[in-house]
Symmetry: C2
Subunit: 253 residues, 2 copies
């Protein structure tokens, strides 16, 4: 979706490193935004983005118009897998249908062998990988690490929306994930107790509201109580009017 | 779906004639049948089918199991285009989602350049072609003529269900299409009047019930009144417990 940051560029570098041809795409996909979300104000620094992609060695930047991707009358969509219903799916019910439809279309246009996605959108990565399996799409999905600012904030195109005060509050997401990881590593297995602490940590940190804070199975995203490893800790919270997500996977030692 | 007849074999011959490699598939797709439809009794003469495909020069026959196409937990599907809602979609509301999902999966497995479909399933052909366009599927859809028995009955795997008496009644579909074509060619432009005559012709012919008998736009399937050319005349009717469909396109001279 453009507004590129180091997270995106790490994917481009991975592709340049591992493949013969790197195809990138910048498209602020309208169908994955609900009414009232930030489609109209989503940052679109196209020239800067294209220069960044070229500098990293991308071979192609595909920058279609809305009409090119969704000509008049275009109405076939992907109905997302069950995995999409919780978490993001609960708070953004039409989101994954929009994501999967555009991703499948772009896969079909690019006909790539492998596609690189960031792990910051953890559920998105799982849902895309499930679509690829369920629909036999001939592509391999590779997930790449979250890239963070020096202070720990997960890179996001939406962090430009944050005021300096909100930027500080936003750090409570990573701090809460660290708290959860430490407690799980130290043996905390009571999911309800940990989630209660996580919510308190986010509130103490100053977030405006919490969409979810959960400990879940790394494959099915089912909430874990008791907690078992590996697991993924996922948070979605609002800081002012900006919605942020972050997560961390806690592996078996 | 197997139970091959000359209609299917004409598609194989077309592919053998036009392409380097002909991939066929036999799979009685459970997800395109609704509860109460004929999934359990659908004819499955597999050995005979495989011999027919080999005799025609097919290079591959892909005969997957249900579990191979739909492993446990498989839940991503294709949500059909608007074009799917009328006609078959009205009487078989889950049908096209099942059809499009399996067709997209098979396209992804085969990675073919071109796929051949029969025009007997006219709406199915249009809906598949629309999915291919809407989702940018890299395949070309070619539609092939309806193949008929010497007496005019459109070839169908379901005609084995017909008793000799029902077989005679089934001819009323083609007779009614011929009537419609003749009247349109002679200048009939009153859609309501023609459809009334078509329904009477089917009832006189002895059909058990009529799902639809319409004159529609060849691309959008919108009902035409007044009639204009080109148009497609479509019928779905029950003869005893067997549901039959047929159609004819009336071109501009």
């Amino acid at each position: 979706m453009g507004a590129l940051h180091e997270g995106h560029l790490s994917l481009v570098r991975r592709s340049v490193d591992q493949t013969d041809i790197t195809i990138t795409t910048i498209f602020v996909n309208p169908t994955q935004f609900a009414t009232g979300e930030d489609l109209s104000v989503y940052p679109r620094p196209l020239e800067r983005d294209l220069k960044l992609l070229a500098d990293e060695g991308a071979d192609v930047a595909f920058v279609p118009s809305d009409d090119e991707m969704y000509p008049s009358g275009c109405s076939t969509t992907v109905a997302p897998p069950a995995l999409s219903e919780a978490l993001e799916g609960e708070f953004r019910p039409t989101h994954f249908s929009g994501v999967l439809t555009i991703v499948l279309k772009l896969f079909n246009v690019a006909r790539a062998d492998v596609a690189f996605f960031g792990r910051k959108d953890y559920q998105q990565f799982l849902v895309i990988r499930k679509m690829v399996a369920d629909l036999n799409v001939p592509i391999r999905i590779e997930v790449c690490p979250i890239v963070r600012e020096p202070d720990g904030l997960a890179m996001s195109s939406r962090s430009v929306y944050l005021s300096p005060e909100e930027r500080d509050i936003a750090l409570s997401l990573k701090r809460t994930l660290d708290l959860a990881r430490t407690q799980i590593k130290e043996g905390q297995r009571d999911g309800f107790e940990l989630i209660t602490e996580m919510r308190q940590s986010l509130i103490d940190g100053g977030v405006t509201s919490i969409d979810y804070a959960v400990v879940a199975d790394v494959e099915t995203l089912e909430t874990l109580d008791p907690i078992r490893l590996p697991c993924v800790v996922l948070i979605a919270a609002h800081v002012g009017t900006t919605r942020l997500i972050d997560n961390c996977v806690v592996e078996l030692d």
